[in-house]
């Protein structure tokens, strides 16, 4: 109990409701929150990894997940779920969130018209789990100066006019979302604003009811008195009356039930929300207003007199010294005109004194005394963090291992031919690099991809070999032209030895070696080759570094493995190009006697 939200509260926002999220972030900026109130977005059908939003004058990226579970795993401290799913899916979204035990303290459900039976189940499940549900059919709630749900309070101008930017001393509970804003405004004009407010929602079955919220406010020292705006229909107000009578609530309450009009119309006209129709005399607005007044709750004579009643109670509490002066905090202004950025950069920054690599100034990584090698620089610029030494050493080992494979391989050959045609280093290098692809150098990517695929799905080595056969694919990373079991590739032996000594574990390599046992039993040269070993160990490295399988798949898909080959082999290509320049060899023309000509003569000329 105590406060519903604090200045550190973060939410997961289910559905990419961009305008509502932007309003939350604008609010955060204005009230000087250190962290944005929206930690992540869940959008099952989105293909994006993040969405950009303004935070003050700048833009920030809010990560997007396909489901609540992943978002929650990434943000274990985000304890509020803002469930903006439609009435068709809101139930499932809430139930999934409740299944993530211990993650969420409160769930706000905005959808109106969730089937009643589902709403009841959802509300009960939340109560059993000790999770506060705000809604369904609500605009939400706010803890001024700390955390604001979605569209509550409307525009920033209105928020400041209604003093929703800092905590006042009133606890506000309403059913209606539209009147929530209005009440905040009335309380700011006639008193000092609200400390916490919740619109419980207009559907017949809502999660947290008046009494739940008022009892929490009773226990929140920031709240000095409460305003309750009820409605015709239901008996929830009587629970409040009981709590006042039994002394569970001691703070003053000002209350009014709207819908007094209903008494003039015998039946048929639905005034207000789905929850609003009196089934018994006790459920009429007039009866509830009378009963509340009789219990010592401050009840005005009409809604039009509510402001006066609030001023009266507030004045009394001020005079008694219960409420003191509230200091107005410094606010930041959100710029009126903001421009979206066309490009995003998350790896380096050339603003300021010195350019940085992932936050490290270049001078802090360049010279030998810094202890940074090229492997560190690659880990900073490619993966945005410094890898431990065993990993950067591995990256360097890979680059050294792939740097060259002689002049005869197609990429080097192309580079040499181009250099001999008199082209510059760049043109010649690019010619060589353009050769890298599915047949040349691509085995690293494919080996990592397929072995990981099999391993992720728990295939046995034999099942994997079967699977590849059915797919009609040779197994990338397996097989060598000359090397065999009896004549092992020493590059592979070196990599394996290094991994065995320095990697925390090598599950994928272990799997690949089991596969190799089967393939070499069929044919001696079907060994795990150097491309396969590199790709597979890269996966083991990332796993040991704590990346999720999805993230590793992302690296492979983005071509990060190929990139190591590109960097490494560029060294070799440039060597061959410089060699050609040094040798001054003439233009190369392939001898015609090495070409099989098979061109038919045209019938007619």
């Amino acid at each position: 109990m105590g406060a519903l939200f604090t200045k550190d509260t973060q939410a997961i926002f289910w559905n990419n409701n961009a305008s509502a999220i932007q309003r939350m972030l604008d609010y955060d900026y204005v009230i000087n929150r250190t962290k944005p109130s929206v930690a992540a977005i869940v959008a099952p059908t989105s293909g994006n990894k993040f969405e950009k939003f303004f935070y003050g004058p700048d833009e920030i990226m809010v990560p997007v997940y396909r489901n609540t579970k992943d978002a929650a795993a990434a943000f274990p401290n985000a304890d509020v779920l803002l469930n903006f799913a439609s009435f068709r899916t809101a139930y499932d979204v809430t139930m999934e969130a409740l299944s993530l035990k211990g993650q969420f303290k409160s769930i706000m459900v905005t959808a109106e018209g969730i089937p009643e039976r589902m709403a009841r189940k959802m509300n009960q499940a939340a109560r059993d789990a000790g999770v506060i549900v705000i809604g369904p059919a609500t605009v939400g709630g706010i803890a001024p100066g700390a955390f604001k749900i979605a569209n509550v309070g409307g525009t920033i101008e209105n928020i400041i006019n209604s003093k929703l930017h800092r905590a006042g001393s009133c606890g506000l509970v309403t059913r209606s979302g539209g009147l929530f804003n209005e009440l905040s405004n009335i309380i700011s004009i006639n008193a000092d604003g609200i400390a916490e407010g919740v619109a419980i929602g207009g559907d017949r079955f809502v999660g947290s009811v008046f009494i739940d919220n008022l009892l929490r406010m009773e226990s929140n020292p920031e709240v000095k008195y409460m305003v309750l705006l009820g409605e015709v229909g239901g008996t929830e107000e009587y629970k409040v009356i009981e709590a006042v009578k039994s002394g569970k609530i001691t703070k003053p309450i000002i209350a009014w039930c709207i819908g007094t009009i209903a008494k003039h119309f015998s039946s048929g006209v639905q005034f207000g929300h789905a929850g609003a129709s009196a089934n018994a005399d006790a459920e009429t607005a007039a009866a509830k207003n009378e009963a509340m007044a009789a219990a010592g709750i401050y009840v005005p004579t009409s809604f039009n007199d509510l402001p006066g009643k609030i001023a009266e109670v507030y004045g009394k509490l001020r005079a008694e010294g219960v409420i003191g002066e509230i200091a107005e905090p410094e606010l930041r202004a959100v710029p009126k005109v903001r421009r979206k950025k066309e490009f995003i950069c998350t790896i380096s920054d050339d603003r300021g004194d010195e350019a940085t690599y992932a936050g490290y100034p270049i001078s802090a990584v360049a010279t030998p005394d810094t202890g940074f090698g090229i492997g560190d620089v690659i880990s900073l610029l490619w993966f945005k963090k410094r890898y431990p030494k065993w990993a950067t050493d591995y990256l360097e080992t890979v680059i050294k291992t792939v740097a060259d494979h002689g002049p005869a391989v197609s990429g080097a050959h192309n580079a040499k031919v181009t250099a001999r045609a008199g082209k510059d280093v760049i043109s010649s290098l690019v010619t060589g690099l353009l050769t890298i692809g599915p047949r040349f150098g691509g085995a690293i990517d494919d080996a990592a991809k397929y072995f990981k695929y099999a391993n992720d799905r728990g295939m046995s080595p034999a099942e994997f070999i079967d699977y590849m056969k059915k797919e009609g694919k040779t197994i990338s990373g397996i097989g060598h032209r000359i090397k065999s079991v009896r004549n092992p590739d020493l590059r592979v032996s070196g990599l394996k030895k290094y991994a065995a000594e320095y990697f925390p574990s090598t599950p994928l390599l272990d799997f690949a070696l089991e596969v190799e046992k089967l393939t070499t039993s069929k044919k001696d040269n079907l060994i795990l080759n150097v491309d396969g070993t590199i790709g597979i160990l890269m996966v083991d490295m990332w796993r040991a570094l704590g990346y999720s399988e999805d993230e590793i798949d992302g690296f492979i898909e983005a071509g990060a493995l190929n990139a190591f080959f590109v960097v490494g082999r560029s060294i070799g290509f440039i060597g061959h190009i410089l060699d050609e320049k040094r040798l001054g060899m003439p233009m190369y023309r392939h001898p015609t006697d090495d070409i099989l000509y098979n061109v038919e003569l045209a019938d007619e000329i």
């Binding site: 409307g154 539209g178 709207i258």
Partner: protein, 438 residues
């Protein structure tokens, strides 16, 4: 919406459709027809499968959502003695009933239009039982009684067992609970049968998303179930999941409630096609105070305040709201409808007409945009509004409200309409006081 009543006929059709799935071991004939006049009934009798209309004694009664049809003498089951009603008797009786207005004991009155006709089921009082289910608080409650018909209503407290079933209770515990609460008055030979039926009835009620389901009486003759009288309400928010499980049941207007006016229907239709919310109910077409209020909660407090301050609720002409960010076109249509209604009848006492354009401080609706639609409507209706000495009072806040208030003031001034405009600094309903004090 929420819980909505359906016809007895549709309720029985839903039972019939799902009978095999839910009520194994029991038989239900579903011999019922729904007709609106005698000829329709005669035509039904010619159809294959409805031969029973000619062969059996019949019962006919209105099927228009109201109860106590017996007490209102609106159940035809005898001409000379019980069980002698023929097809022709029923057809003539129906034609007689639709030829004039009917007033019920409750005071509701109107013309009967829909009748359910079924075979007469001879049975004894001790074969009648009572069963119903609904939601009370957070629980489902199943009501069971060994006595059915009017008997059960007179002596409810002693005769009915209430079984409170929490929403999360599993089937095994539900079965146990029902068994433990079976009414003691059920004869031993029928006890197991009744328990089985009650359990199945509850699951049917639950799975089909009924909000209320009552059979009174249900007649149990061996394994033959006769649903003699049925009342049902569905939770219409569950409609999207139910597909054709509800047999296309319609949600008729209650008997005696005047049908919606064309204007109300038009707004309801616009509402159903829009993501925004548009609602209109005409309370008194001759009323002097007309409202165009944004937001559900605000519309209630304006109606409350007008009733409180005017001293005569008849002054309030309409109730309704527009909210959820309607387009300019939708707002114009809404305003056109209200202004047209407002300028049809002069106030009998010659007083000014008052138009309240009210609303709380909007969360996200663009006030200027919605006011554009109202302004366009002013341009069409300005002359008629002046003929009725219309005074306009505006109060609104929210996104872009300054521009909205400025625009509407300028437009009214240009058109020569009386207008006062207020923003969030004025209490939401205070314009009602101002309008009535002037």
């Amino acid at each position: 919406m929420a819980q909505r009543a359906i016809r007895e006929y549709d309720g029985k059709a839903i039972f019939s459709k799902h009978w095999e799935k839910y009520f194994s071991g029991f038989h239900y004939g579903f011999k019922s027809v729904l007709v609106t006049n005698g000829d329709e009934l005669r035509a039904c009798a010619q159809k294959h499968g409805f031969e029973w209309l000619k062969q059996e004694a019949l019962v006919a009664k209105p099927d228009m959502l109201f109860g106590k049809r017996g007490k209102n003498d609106l159940v035809l089951f005898r001409t000379n003695k019980p069980g002698d009603v023929t097809l022709e008797d029923a057809a003539k009786w129906i034609d007689e009933k639709i030829s004039h207005e009917t007033t019920l004991l409750s005071g509701q009155h109107g013309t009967l239009t829909h009748f359910i006709v079924e075979p007469f089921t001879p049975h004894s009082q001790d074969q009648e039982y009572y069963i119903s289910a609904t939601t009370v608080g957070e629980d489902d409650v199943l009501y069971l009684s060994a006595e059915g018909g009017m008997e059960v209503e007179e002596g409810w407290e002693e005769k009915v067992n209430e079984v409170h079933i929490p929403i999360t209770m599993d089937d095994a515990n539900i079965a146990h609970l029902i068994r433990a609460n079976v009414p003691s008055g059920i004869p031993a030979e029928n006890k197991e049968r009744f328990i089985a039926f009650a359990e199945q009835f509850y699951k049917f009620y639950r799975d089909l998303n009924f909000a209320y389901l009552e059979i009174n009486p249900i007649v149990m003759i061996g394994n033959d179930m006769h649903i003699l009288d049925l009342v049902a309400r569905l939770d219409d928010t569950a409609g999207f999941m139910m597909g054709d499980s509800w047999c296309d049941a319609e949600f008729p207007t209650a008997f005696g409630m005047e049908d919606q006016s064309p204007e109300e229907k038009a707004i309801a239709e616009a509402d159903s096609k829009s993501g925004a919310s548009l609602k209109l109910t005409i309370l008194n077409p001759m009323g002097r105070i007309w409202t165009m209020v944004a937001g559900g909660g605000a519309s209630v407090v304006y109606a409350d305040t007008i009733a409180d301050l005017s001293g005569n609720v008849a002054d309030l002409a309409n109730y309704g709201e527009y909210s959820g960010g309607p387009t300019t076109g939708e707002t114009k249509f809404y305003a056109d409808t209200v202004l047209d209604l407002m300028t049809r009848h002069k106030d009998p006492k010659g007083r000014d007409k008052i138009l309240i354009i009210g609303g709380a401080i909007a969360n996200f609706t663009d006030v200027a945009k919605t006011f554009t639609g109202i302004i366009q409507s002013f341009e069409t209706y300005a002359d008629r509004m002046k003929e009725h000495n219309t005074r306009i009072y505006v109060r609104r806040g929210g996104p872009n409200y300054e521009k909205g208030l400025k625009d509407i003031k300028e437009a009214a001034d240009r058109l020569g309409l009386y207008i006062e405009v207020y923003g969030p600094e004025t209490h939401v309903t205070d314009i009602v006081r101002m309008a009535l004090e002037k």
